[in-house]
Amino acid sequence: MIYNAPVKDIRFALNALADLPAICALPGNEDCTVELVDAILEEAAKFAEGVLAPTNRAGDAGAKWSPDFSVRSPEGFKEAWQQYVEAGWAGLRAPAEFGGQGLPALVSTAAEEMWCSANLAFSLAPLLTLGAVEAIHHHASEALKAIYLPRMSTGEWTGTMNLTEPQAGSDLAQVRSRAVPAEDGSYRITGQKIFITWGEHDLADNIVHLVLARLPDAPAGVKGISLFIVPKFLVNADGSLGARNDVRCVSLEHKLGIHGSPTAVMSFGDEGGAVGYLVGEPNKGLNYMFTMMNHARLGVGIEGMAVSERAYQKAVEYARERVQSRAVGSPEATGVAIIQHPDIRRMLMTMKAQIEAQRALALYTAAALDRAARHPLPEEKARNQALVNFLIPIVKGWNTEQANEITSMAVQVHGGMGYVEETGVAQYYRDARITAIYEGTTGIQALDLIGRKTASENGVTARALLAEARATADRLAAAGEASLSANLSGAVVEAERCVAFILESFASNPRLAAAGSVPFLKLMGIVLGGWQMGRAGLAALSQQGQEDADADFLNAKLITARFYGEHLLPQVSGLAAAIVEGAESALALPESAF
């Protein structure tokens, strides 16, 4: 199962669409240059292809739990993790003062795509570790940072997020885990957490759990939740590992996909209380979690696109070698490779066009994340933060919903051979399913999008982005791309109609807005993806004249953009009709009728 990192397309999206040179020029990014990023992409591609991708299939056999509460990771994962750590990839965007490289989110996002394509289950370990690093870096005391960050930034120790409990899934107000102050200033944590990704494993010497729990005097609801560091092994004053903490993995879930990633049920305090250390101030835990939510949700959007890319590559490979039936319309009776059949073409193009649009939109968002963090002008910082806030639920929700469709299409290209596990494409289909669920389901993303990200700022960012898309459509018209231009501007009109509807209904009857929230999220994904493909088309047109232009690549980009305009953008009007006119029928049946 070969994986070829799409370095050429990543580089195009970075430079032509996400403006990498401008991100390198931001204060604090002085070490980052386009040439350096090129070198990083090449080596990351080699590593993803040569080390991570070959372990993906074995990972599907799953991790093994033992009654001594240990978990053995799948074959090859431990060695891959060691190589990952030794090669320094864990530190790509970890803070420089704690041993990381502190590179821009734009660069790390590009590399993360390759890890996720190569081995999605494996890639979750570094992703969660980075999330924990970010939370500790932003909110923990200097003393805690000094103990944990140096070894987490290098990947010597991994990190986890312990949020969910059986009764507290999307609604974290229901968290019941308890934290009681101890005499030494630490806390004793008791409770059970579920769905803890890489909660227990044998990859690293220590696992640093970030745990949400309530203090004895905490107010009810979301304002009474605090964040604690609970290490698997306590850390001695000299930095060496001490006693085993009172936290254990009591079982692993049996899942639909990502079998290589152990999903743990964690029990805290069975022997009286796990030692925990408060991060930041009491009762602010959920706020702290939200500060890294953007990165984590962007990460899951990348996961969705990345597994789509892997499935697409597999589908292309199969379509080239599978010979079946004569060519449509040909008098020749001999069978041809199915890639010659028009419907297979349509499927491959549908996959390719969406993946390229998603990659572009995700990297554009990552660049906004960098500008929001480092731009010298406060107004640009704020504008980019608003962009990030608006785009994150779209990238997360749209990329992952489409990952389900795209990986399903990859199975379809394989026909019956796709449904049996032998070809390997079924794994991508199963692995993709979780991405639309964890880190906030699509429904949660869509509510966030219509409420906090659209209604509460009166649609300012939504309309600004649509205005940019319209300007792109105008430029496409001027460049002679009439069809793509018309499809894009038509979609923008529909999207504006939906924004107006969401704003109006959210104020008057939010149930109507909520009923159309997921279609609205998808619609914005398709339109903004179309905007990026329009920009890509324009960039391809202008590069075509240059010396040393990669004619094949640019031509393919242009055709893919046109396909996106003719096949994806027209879906917008159907979604718009459902959003604006379909809410009442969605809600009309009495509950008893179901």
């Binding site: 070829n4 370095v7 070490d31 240059t33 040439e35 350096l36 090129d38 070198a39 990083i40 090449e42 080596e43 080699k46 590593f47 040569g50 080390v51 190589q83 030794e86 090669a87 320094g88 990839w89 530190g91 790509l92 490289q101 040393d548 232009a549 990669d550 004619a551 094949d552 690549f553």
Partner: protein, 249 residues
Amino acid sequence: MKVLVAVKRVVDYNVKVRVKADGSDVDIANVKMSMNPFDEIAVEEAVRLKEAGKATEIVAVSMGVKQCEETLRTALAMGADRAILVETDAELQPLAVAKLLKEVVAKEQPQLVIVGKQAIDDDSNQTGQMLSALLGWAQGTFASKVDLADASVDVTREVDGGLETVKLKLPAVVTTDLRLNEPRYVKLPNIMAAKKKPLDKTTPADLGVDVTPRLKTLKVAEPAKRSAGVKVASAAELVAKLKNEAKVL
């Protein structure tokens, strides 16, 4: 001990090369280029010698267009200490490369030169041998093991009959074979550090070498396509065909 390694920028081994329409050459426009795999092995060997405390400095040299800088940065990221680019847009043939290397060696005075046994683009397998002749140094080609001592080096060579070990007096030229080592994956901090390592540039004119090609390419063509096979009805028919058509029996 100073070690000099030469690295060549070639079409990446994963790329399916195409011949230019006019049959003059292989088409390398917008094709992925990488370090010649045999040269990667040469750099890896030098880095291992340094890690073992036997080499003190590694100088990587490349020759050709400006983009060879990228290949040199890879060598620096793998562990070379500094790099020299002999920049030229001219076509460089093995003899020219050997002459240029000779001049670089004269300046740098390394005790050991390690080069790939051949480059995967033209498969010449000449540069190392020519360089040793020009320098009047000993040569150990197709090395699968290199054991470096203070004044000599034992090189195990992969020859047709098996393995042959030669002891060379230093200074010497060693050319690498595939089994010498497995090059490492480059580490991220080293990619960052490579950017700051010195990379000097010179030209064939500065080195006083005439690089005019001595060989002329007449034609470049793709290998003939394999024709379709036939099914034989019996072993007897197969034997007959092997005897009469293929004439191998």
